[in-house]
Symmetry: C2
Subunit: 136 residues, 2 copies
């Protein structure tokens, strides 16, 4: 449980002004035990439910991108028409439940180390991530 005050500090430390919209979004995103996977629309709806204060869709886009740029959110490439975001910003692996369209984090030890045996001249590896698709 992170307090409003801590979010304000976090925002200030990131040179992002602590507006009530941003604090609201922080509370939805970061006051959680588990990793949260979401689309912009998911988030927009959660915020609408949460409080009477309405936050515009444009602000949700702006804020998510600001947080992404600061490294507080990760973008996840999934076959879909919508972009997914993830509050777990470390390099990590996923289950993707194809039917439910839901992401589930895998711990590194659930997958084990992966050694890439091939290299491309002039390029280096930035990340290695596994996507495990699940069906019924």
């Amino acid at each position: 449980m992170t307090s409003k005050q801590e979010f304000i500090e976090k925002l200030r430390n990131s040179s992002l002004r602590p507006t009530k919209q941003r604090i609201n979004i922080c509370e939805v995103l970061f006051n959680r035990d588990k990793t949260f996977h979401f689309t912009i629309n998911d988030l927009f709806n959660l915020i609408k439910d949460r409080t009477a204060d309405k936050v515009s869709l444009a602000t949700v886009y702006n804020t998510v991108h600001a947080f992404h740029k600061k490294g507080y959110l990760k973008e996840i490439p999934i076959n879909s028409n919508q972009t997914y975001f993830d509050t777990n910003v470390t390099d990590h692996h996923h289950f993707f439940d194809v039917k439910e369209e839901k992401l589930i984090d895998l711990k590194n030890e659930d997958v084990g180390p992966i050694e890439i045996q091939k290299s491309i001249p002039g390029k280096k590896i930035k990340s290695v991530e596994v996507l495990v698709k699940l069906e019924d």
Copy 2:
């Protein structure tokens, strides 16, 4: 090198009528040595260059989806605004050159076997694919 006649048969066997548009697209997609990674727009432009016959964008979309449904093309989830397709329809791993926005196939032996240690009740694994992002 596959002949026009063979594409016609392939289409017939798939209950797709061998129209000149579809044959044209087959020739662009499948007359290749190596795996081909492309977006709809890439393909549309290649076809424009190739012959005087113009194929409409709608037909390119229709045909790619028809081929995808028949299992002749694979969709690749990459962070981007455009969907990528792949003529290599097996489960396989990729390099993604982030700067060039280009996909490169990895052979299974370039990565090695991956054992997933976690399971979700009622779900089984459909595929396991690795995405290795490359930077300069």
